[in-house]
């Protein structure tokens, strides 16, 4: 009898604790969500006015045009086309360099997970992930700006971004490989398939959506990088596709707009665009990741 009462009391206490804890979790998540909504709402209110076709097709205005437009209460002419093209150029080059190398490294680390060299490579990659991006910018500056292109260049910017992407690709490749069950690999071996063909024709296709997730996340991570690009790509008022010359990038433009009192309005619209783009990449990679679970 007394035992039963004790048990009931115990359960009630536990329920109370559960409830309290649930409220705490809800409160915590609301606190996290609010700033994101505030940021997006703020950017949208201030920035949406500037966003139209020419925002994407025209290069950044000069400060004089911007001043006149602002004083007349009109929207600022021009757009971020030079930044878009520069970002696109550098992201493509960085992807071409980092994705193959990162994937091969990730596969190597996974396949030889017990070897000492593999764990050395893994540690280096983890350390690289923690290096502040400005320092990677300085390294790219020393190697490429000083040593290769003899001046600020899109290529130097791409190298900085490559170094940032590499550890992310390596990591996600290794994690993705871990998710492929051993019997799938053995099924290929049991058909007499050689090792390298198993990797190319089974492992990589099976992990396609996982790899794509990692790549998209890496892209969304580097798209907003500003500091390393200041030391490498520098920025350019015109659209340029010459990898040996300076180019602009969307985050570089945001920084330029911020520094020009006449162009502050463009800060909001460029930021709004960047934010939405990166958020969409994130969401896309999430939906891919959800698909990947079926194996």
């Amino acid at each position: 009898m007394t035992k039963e009462i004790f048990l009931n009391e115990n359960i009630r206490q536990r329920n109370r604790k559960n409830k309290r804890f649930r409220w705490l979790v809800i409160a915590g998540s609301v606190i996290t969500i609010i700033p994101i909504f505030l940021i997006v709402a703020n950017l949208a209110v201030k920035g949406v006015r500037q966003i139209n076709i020419s925002f994407f097709t025209e290069t950044a205005p000069d400060t004089f045009q911007a001043m006149i437009a602002t004083s007349n209460g009109e929207i600022i002419p021009g757009g971020i086309a030079n930044g878009l093209m520069g970002s696109l150029l550098m992201v493509i080059i960085a992807s071409l360099m980092s994705i193959p190398v990162g994937m091969m490294t990730g596969i190597y680390i996974y396949e030889n997970s017990t070897s000492r060299y593999a764990s050395f490579v893994r540690s280096i990659s983890e350390i690289l992930q923690g290096v502040p991006s400005i320092i990677l910018g300085i390294i790219a500056y020393l190697w490429i700006v000083k040593g290769v292109t003899r001046g600020y260049s899109a290529f130097a910017g791409s190298v900085a971004l490559t170094i940032m992407m590499l550890p992310l690709i390596i990591r996600s490749t290794e994690e993705t490989m871990k998710m492929i069950p051993l019997p799938i690999r053995e099924a290929a071996f049991a058909l007499g398939v050689p090792y390298y063909k198993m990797i190319i024709k089974v492992l990589i296709p099976c992990s396609f959506s996982g790899l794509a997730t990692g790549i998209l996340l890496a892209l969304s991570r580097i798209l907003g990088e500003t500091a390393p690009l200041m030391l490498t790509a520098l920025g350019s008022p015109a659209i340029s596709l010459d990898i040996a010359k300076p180019v602009s990038a969307v985050p570089l433009l945001i920084w330029d707009f911020y520094n020009d009192p006449n162009m502050v309005n463009l800060v909001w619209s460029a930021s709004l665009f960047l934010m939405i783009f990166v958020l969409s990449l994130n969401l896309l990679s999430r939906s891919l990741a959800a698909k990947h679970k079926y194996i």
């Binding site: 069950p181 019997p183 799938i184 053995e186 099924a187 290929a188 071996f189 049991a190 058909l191 007499g192 398939v193 050689p194 063909k197 198993m198 024709k201 089974v202 296709p205 099976c206 396609f208 079926y294 194996i295």
Partner: protein, 254 residues
């Protein structure tokens, strides 16, 4: 066991760690066009023995194999591994169709993954014939180009058998192929194995005694890595020589 065995296992030992053999000095011969069941309690080395037959252990360099296995008189260790695995197919405990491939692609995976080029008509033939032999054709003929992973567990396992026999092997190794299946699917696969032995030699690992009794012609009983006893299934079940076999069959352990 008989005079013209297809496979002879000769004093085979396999060790995962040095000094501790999971399979100890096993010798046996496997009869052509029959089902040979390998029985024994969990952990006695059945899978280890089976995987030695298609040299699966070579994927893991730390595993040491000694002794010999002869396929039609020729040592498997002197054959090119692709030839060996073409002649000896394997079906695993859990169905493992390639998740990136359609049903059709899974059946011909042995060819495509090895870059063996076939005409489309040849491929179509192989797919239809293999799926017919595993009695899956009628169930999937309208969804050949859907992913194999959409099938039920039992269908997936029959697809994996189709993938193995599409390569036209002489021997089929099956490692507890029904242990992940429900009773209905199990019965289907068992019926199928009975059909398949007309064309292939089947080596079937099972820890299910009644399954061994139902469908096998010959049986091997293993215990702690040793082959305790082997012979005609009927004899082994009705008149075991070794008392460990008897203890196992009467449910004293396992």
């Amino acid at each position: 066991m008989t005079d013209n065995p297809i496979l002879e296992i000769d004093n085979l030992s396999v060790a995962y760690e040095t000094g501790r053999s999971a399979v100890k000095n096993v010798s046996a011969s496997i009869v052509r066009n029959a089902i040979t069941a390998i029985m024994g309690p969990s952990g006695c080395g059945k899978s280890t023995l089976l995987r030695a037959v298609n040299r699966m252990h070579e994927l893991y360099p730390s595993i040491k194999t000694t002794g010999d296995i002869r396929l039609d008189g020729e040592s498997i260790f002197s054959m090119p591994v692709i030839e060996l695995r073409r002649r000896i197919g394997m079906v695993f405990q859990r169905p493992n169709p390639f998740p990136n491939m359609t049903i059709y692609e899974n059946v011909v995976a042995g060819y495509t993954l090895n870059d063996i080029r076939l005409k489309k008509t040849q491929r179509d033939d192989i797919v239809e014939k293999a799926l017919h032999s595993v009695t899956l054709w009628d169930e999937v003929k309208d969804s050949l180009f859907r992913k194999g992973t959409f099938l039920s567990g039992g269908q997936q396992q029959r697809l994996c058998i189709a993938r193995a026999i599409a390569f036209n092997p002489e021997i089929l190794l099956l490692d507890e192929p029904t242990s992940a299946l429900d009773p209905v699917a199990t019965a289907k696969v068992e019926d199928l194995l009975g059909e398949l032995k007309k064309e292939y030699t089947l080596l079937l690992v099972t820890h299910n005694m009644s399954q061994a009794a139902r469908i096998s012609d010959d049986s091997m009983f293993m215990y702690l890595g040793e082959l305790v006893e082997s012979g005609k299934t009927e004899t082994l079940f009705t008149n075991p020589h070794d008392q460990r076999t008897e203890a196992y069959l009467t449910g004293k352990f396992g």
